[in-house]
Symmetry: C2
Subunit: 473 residues, 2 copies
């Protein structure tokens, strides 16, 4: 009955092992050009696992697998694919088959898929879809990108304020029956595939309360819905940014929430599965931007990846040259004492690393709304102080190393002083740079690290070589 | 009825604005020592917002707010607090009040709270809790840290295979009635506070299917539960790592899943709200580790933060000294041409940045199970090629800059060659280092970047100065 994971004594990493095993088998079958076996193996997979498989395959193998799946292609696979791979699969399938797949999707999945197509592909797919489904998707596209309106599904279960629990349950059963008997055409007032809350609405269709299904099921038929509904609910405006939507869901442990238009009327609902995807997207964005990558390009082609990474590296080249100009100011000093050239990267590197530690904590705290106007000054002060403390510790260490290495106690003092200054500046810059970008409405994850390393390189080289020029000769 | 967010034309960033406004009012009332007003304002907040407030306050203000809340302290606040702040609040509340709060929590929240206390605090809290609740928590503590057993709640709704939809609904209503009439003592067989699926179990209590509540509600009373259950479900073993649990939930868009012991018997269920917290934790771990911070220390004291960051900086000092040793090998060359000292950080810095881009994508892909044995070789090859391509582009740029700056075309050629070599090595190291660590069972986010910068610094300085020594004199 249950699937394979129900075995006793399951191995530790079974999720991956199981799938890796099937992937190996599929690769083998592909190698032997055994289309029948490939088809059998892939049909047994969940749509999410099939999507993973297509992502892991080379472009050629992917085309062959799509060909094999074409007669019975599961539309859910398209929703689960990474962007680059999805473009490729869409190309393999052709617009006719893609349009057919879109019609089979839930309204939120269809919208999510269509919004990411190129403008002309989008138009061609929409043209191939019947009017009813098309209108829903076009309405969805009218909401701003990354807004609650784009995330929500239009199918929601609404209950008038005067109904009882019994009437609500009867309504659900009747709707389900009507769907079954009317077949495909009844999609207009269809129940959502899955739902977790009923929304109680007043006569003007404004939500006045939510009732979790578990509460409907544990309450007697005669109870009024208004007596068991939660009124302390979060109502999301269609224009709310998806990042704020995710914040509300996490903060309140929600599984679904009503979405309202400008006049406060209920127009849809967002469910937790879509929010989990948003959380992952936002995380990915943060981590990629901190690493200097515009977006996850694992499946992109080599040339596209080269181009995408070029601009960030170009900015970095400019800041590296700026640091070199600072070093160039002291060429006379460097000529007198080559030890300075040997030691100078240490000061810059330690400042860069200490600053990155601070920056990581600050960027994350801003994204989590944990770093606010209330505590910003306190956090800046603390980070500057941490910089000074660690600066003093490492000044001692590197001062001793420099002294023994080059036999000059004065050199040890100079590098120690430069270390304290640079690590203090790193703590200060590591908090103030992301805070300033955030206030200016710029995502601090994008640009913070380039500004930070510019500051720590310039200050590191300048204080070390400057102090050396002043005190060593 | 609905709360303030139901207004028409809501402002863009209302979630934060609203809370920031209340926080300001509370700070003002604290400043005026108006305990009554502070109490009124805080009582109006959701527990998650109260937790945020406590996190943002200074230690003194936090103590005062906890005192004001003490007579009517909401236990949910404890579950929502950051670790450092929670320790402080626990200290302010005292063990007696903490133990009382734990008894009011759901089994999974209570376990999550108790498991993070110090060993002796844990024992004292457990001693202050009645035997029934204590046994549940102690059983939970017997599962490995970060396992499904620690995440699950013990309260689940199980349905025998021979029941109909009607019988299941009647059972839920009766259980709810029994709870209400029996009061607090009936917790043993209580229904969970919130649930989303019913689990159909065979006579040996093994799960054979799950039924989403929305399906129960849309089906007629006479239908057999076994006819409407999903049998293609994911059953999670108690020992499964929470990261794998999160992966399964996301992959399958689950809201709840059954957890079984070694013999396959149902022992609990994991719900999506706990998984969302895990996703956040795992992400935070990744981002912090990539930034060289052991864990989010925003609320830690200055000295604790200094200590925590010291060890990472110490490792970095060692690698920076190693790079300096490499530079020291070429002191004679540097003495002959100070331009080399001016330019050498550029090659190292560009390698470090290109490597970090690759590393970020690889670490993220490993965490998402997107980088597997199937595509590892292809990804390594691609990244090395991207490195060479961008290396050639930047070789041209920096070569021209060096030539014009120092008037030596040979110097331009040398720095260009060094750039290509270092960026090729950066692409190679940026993928192979995290892959190697992953194979060895080490979290690639922890140590990858220190190995990477060691490689790019050493190779950068060595090739640039080495080629200069060979060809420029």
């Amino acid at each position: 009955m249950a699937d394979g994971t129900n075995d006793s004594n399951p191995p530790e990493d079974q999720v991956t092992d199981l799938e890796a095993g099937i992937e190996r088998d599929i690769l083998l079958a592909l190698g032997e050009e055994d289309a029948g076996r490939v088809g059998d193996l892939v049909q047994g997979l969940h749509s999410a696992d099939t999507a993973d498989l297509l992502e892991h395959l080379s472009a050629d193998d992917r085309e062959r697998v799509v060909e094999i799946l074409r007669p019975d292609f599961n539309p859910d696979i398209l929703s689960e694919l990474d962007e680059t791979v999805r473009d490729h699969v869409v190309e393999c399938l052709g617009l006719q088959d893609v349009a057919a797949a879109v019609q089979e999707m839930d309204s939120d999945d269809a919208l999510e898929f269509v919004e990411e197509l190129d403008a002309d592909e989008q138009q061609q797919v929409l043209d191939a879809i019947p009017l009813g489904d098309r209108a829903l998707i076009e309405e969805g596209l009218s909401y701003p990108k990354d807004s609650a309106g784009r995330l929500m599904q239009r199918e929601v279960v609404t209950i008038p304020t005067f109904w009882t629990v019994g009437q609500s349950i009867d309504f659900l059963r009747e709707s389900a029956d009507r769907e079954t008997s009317a077949g495909e055409d009844a999609t207009k007032n269809a129940l959502p595939e899955q739902f977790y809350d009923l929304f109680v609405v007043d006569p003007s269709h404004k939500p006045v309360g939510t009732v979790p299904l578990s509460r409907v099921l544990r309450t007697s038929r005669s109870a009024a819905m208004t007596d068991i509904m939660e009124t302390d609910m979060k109502v999301l405006p269609v224009s709310m940014d998806q990042e704020d939507v995710a914040f509300v869901f996490r903060q309140r442990d929600l599984v679904s929430a009503p979405v309202v238009d400008e006049s406060g009327r209920l127009v849809g609902a967002i469910t937790i599965d879509d929010v989990v995807d948003v959380i992952h997207e936002e995380h990915e964005e943060d981590i990629m931007r901190l690493g200097g990558v515009q977006e996850d390009d694992l499946y992109d082609a080599t040339v596209a990846t080269t181009q995408a990474r070029f601009s960030w590296l170009l900015v970095n080249l400019a800041t590296a040259i700026l640091a070199s100009v600072v070093i160039g100011l002291f060429d006379a000093t460097l000529e007198q004492m080559v030890a300075l050239a040997v030691l100078m990267p240490i000061v810059a590197s330690m400042g860069g690393n200490a600053g990155t530690q601070t920056l990581t904590v600050a960027v994350r705290a801003l994204a989590m709304k944990e770093l606010t106007t209330t505590n910003a000054a306190r956090v800046i002060g603390k980070e500057a102080l941490v910089g000074v403390f660690n600066g003093i510790l490492f000044a001692g260490l590197i001062g001793a190393v420099a002294w023994f290495w080059f036999g000059s106690s004065a050199l040890g003092v100079v590098i120690g002083l430069a270390m304290v200054v640079n690590m203090f500046v790193a703590g200060l810059a590591g908090t103030t740079i992301p805070l300033a970008l955030y206030r200016m409405g710029i995502d601090p994850a994008v640009a913070s690290s380039v500004f930070l390393t510019t500051v720590t390189d310039v200050v590191g080289f300048f204080t070390f070589l400057g102090l050396a020029a002043l005190f060593l000769f």
